[in-house]
């Protein structure tokens, strides 16, 4: 007996014995959270591009200042205002300092400020937000109200005010930036902890007598890593932006130290006398860094939260 071009035989109609086994092999492979995130991130070419730029910037911030043998502070007025050439790859500034070395030294300081600010925001935010969420009730209410009031002061205004009473330097800038900068992180952590508190395994850990802090550290932090990482990534460009603005207002890093912000604002006037490269180099570096962190942060957020990407 045949059907179409298949020949059917009686033997084909005997019961199958192993059919239930198939069910197990068919089930979709379970891919872990981070692997899945990484896969989605890799699909986002722009974010990947951002990540590569960030890695290159960090590398150059580490080795860049040593490459061509000049130091960031050494002045040589006989060679001032040279446009980029074979000896000074990025040219020299008004005091004859090598801009290539200064640019990467500035990268070091700008990235350091950005990363430190992000790190301190992270630590303060996790502690504040974590305590607020775990204590709950009245404490939570009061703590969040305080944060809300502080947060309604414009960030940059607060940083400027702080810089007025602090001395000029790297650490004061970082302090000024973190004085209200931790608040978004605290809110984020609080929200996440409140959500996670409801989850069964955290409750189970609590029931088994694990201390609250221990529970927080062990179960929650790894789970919250995703959104927190995004926040850190996006804090870096904010800090670099703020540092640049401070420099413009004359509240930045004092000479001879260099940050991209001071390099840019010092050379604002130079374009009028034709030394366009003196502004272009730090401006480009600031913009590229901001761009890289922003697209990477965005890509990371999308990759961690596939809801939008369906």
């Amino acid at each position: 007996m045949s059907k179409g071009n298949i020949v059917l035989t009686k033997e084909m109609f005997v019961p199958a014995e192993d059919n239930f086994l198939e069910a197990e092999t068919i089930s979709a492979p379970s891919v872990s959270y981070w692997r899945e995130t990484w896969r989605r991130l890799k699909e986002n070419k722009l974010a990947l591009f951002g990540l590569i730029i960030i890695i290159l910037l960090v590398l150059m911030a580490i080795v860049g200042p040593y490459i061509n043998g000049y130091s960031y502070f050494e002045q040589d007025f006989s060679k001032k205002n040279q446009p980029p050439n074979s000896e000074h790859w990025f040219g020299t500034d008004t005091a004859g300092r090598d801009l290539f070395t200064r640019a990467w030294y500035g990268a070091r300081i700008s990235l350091f400020i950005g990363l430190m600010a992000a790190l301190i925001d992270f630590v303060v935010g996790v502690i504040y937000g974590g305590i607020s969420a775990i204590k709950g009730g009245r404490t939570d209410n009061i703590m969040m109200r305080i944060a809300e009031v502080l947060f309604s002061i414009p960030y940059l205004l607060m940083v400027i005010l702080m810089m007025i009473i602090l001395e000029r330097g790297i650490w004061p800038i970082i302090v000024a930036m973190t004085i209200t900068g931790w608040i978004p992180m605290a809110r984020l952590v609080r929200g996440q902890v409140l959500q996670l508190k409801e989850l069964e395994y955290v409750q189970a850990a609590n029931a088994m007598g694990a201390g609250t802090f221990w529970t927080l550290a062990k179960h929650m932090v790894p789970n919250m890593m995703g959104p927190i990482l995004v926040n850190i990534t996006l804090t870096v460009p904010t800090a670099i932006f703020a540092e640049a603005t401070l420099s413009f207002l004359g509240l930045g890093i004092p000479a001879p130290e260099a940050s991209w912000g001071t390099m840019a604002s010092d050379s604002l006037g130079s374009i009028l006398i034709g030394n366009f490269y003196q502004l272009a180099i730090p401006a480009l570096l600031i913009s590229i860094t901001m761009f890289a962190f922003n697209v990477f942060g965005d890509g990371l957020r999308d990759a961690l939260d596939p809801k939008l990407k369906k």
Binding site: I153, I165, G250, L279, A283
Partner: protein
């Protein structure tokens, strides 16, 4: 409604009080005697200061009198002049800053919304990429750098537009663009993601299943819902505009409050710095209050939640 407004008003006052207190603390933690800096001060100015800040009274009295003077919008004297007060400077500068700010905000909102919607509707196609590249540039380039570039090309090289001061409408074009770029970029990105979320909602399918026109669906079902998060961040954007205006005003030499503030920083004119800070805060808090109330009207779901409480 009244209840909601009352609550927001109370909140605004608490915030204002916090800011005033912070400025008071800052004033008193400035290293050295901020008012006797380098001894160059004319005696008349010093006298004005002592009188306004009641420097001869105990600290707590100073604090209350400080708050009291601010409540009647008295921002005190300035170091620059023995006759002109901070109020006089603000009165002169505020109309200019307001003009610039409103113009920039309008530009940012209109263009930002358009870019955001176009990007979302053409997701992963070239209009999306183009809008988002523009938005990322807007976020990545600090305003003082953008402003310098604009001046360099549009004013110096090509001579198309005037570069500085504030005398005709064409003078406002470059500063408005410099100031609007960042908030525009924010709005475009926010609107894009908000719109994408709304496009995924079930009610979009309902709308389509009714056989309505595409344009109508996009406006009434899409934009109408997607715009809510944008409205709710308008307050933050206004704050952004204010801080951005410091830089833009001082680069373009625009005689607004921002330039006053920046000059104050360069001259260490603390009364001017603190006075304009508080003035800015008042403006912002007022704006945020207005935005809250507006949001209340725009989102029908809040109305009920507010009335039930």
């Amino acid at each position: 409604m009244l209840r909601f407004a009352g609550k927001r008003l109370l909140w605004a006052l608490v915030t204002l009080w916090a800011i005033i207190t912070i400025t008071f603390i800052i004033m008193h933690s400035i290293p050295g005697d901020p008012f006797a800096r380098e001894g160059k001060m004319p005696p008349a100015v010093y006298e004005n200061l002592t009188k306004h800040y009641h420097l001869d009274e105990p600290l707590y009295v100073q604090y209350f009198l400080y708050i009291k003077s601010l409540l009647v919008f008295d921002f005190g004297p300035s170091l620059k002049s023995s006759t002109l007060t901070v109020n006089d400077y603000i009165e002169k500068g505020f109309p200019v800053s307001l003009h610039l700010g409103i113009q920039a905000l309008l530009l940012a909102v209109v263009l930002g919304l358009i870019f955001g919607v176009i990007a979302a509707l053409n997701r992963n196609k070239w209009p999306d990429y183009l809008s988002m590249v523009l938005a990322i540039i807007g976020i990545s380039v600090p305003s003082f750098i953008l402003a310098t570039f604009l001046i360099n090309y549009f004013a110096v090289e090509w001579g198309l537009l005037p570069a500085a001061t504030w005398s005709s409408w064409s003078h406002t074009i470059l500063p408005t663009i410099s100031l609007a770029m960042l908030p525009m970029a924010y709005i475009a990105r926010l609107m894009r993601s908000s719109m994408l979320e709304v496009l995924n909602q079930d009610f979009m399918l309902t709308a389509k299943s009714k056989g309505l026109n595409k344009g109508f669906i996009i406006m009434k079902y899409g934009v109408r819902n997607a715009i809510l998060p944008v409205v709710s961040v308008l307050g933050i954007l206004a704050a952004n505009l204010v801080t951005g205006s410091f830089v833009v005003e001082s680069i373009f030499g625009i005689p607004g409050v921002g330039e006053l503030f920046v000059d104050g920083i360069f001259n260490r004119d603390y009364p001017v710095i603190l006075g304009s800070t508080i003035f800015y805060s008042m403006v912002l808090i007022f704006l945020i209050f207005i935005v809250d109330i507006a949001y209340f009207w725009i989102d029908p779901r809040i109305k009920v939640a507010g009335e039930e409480q």
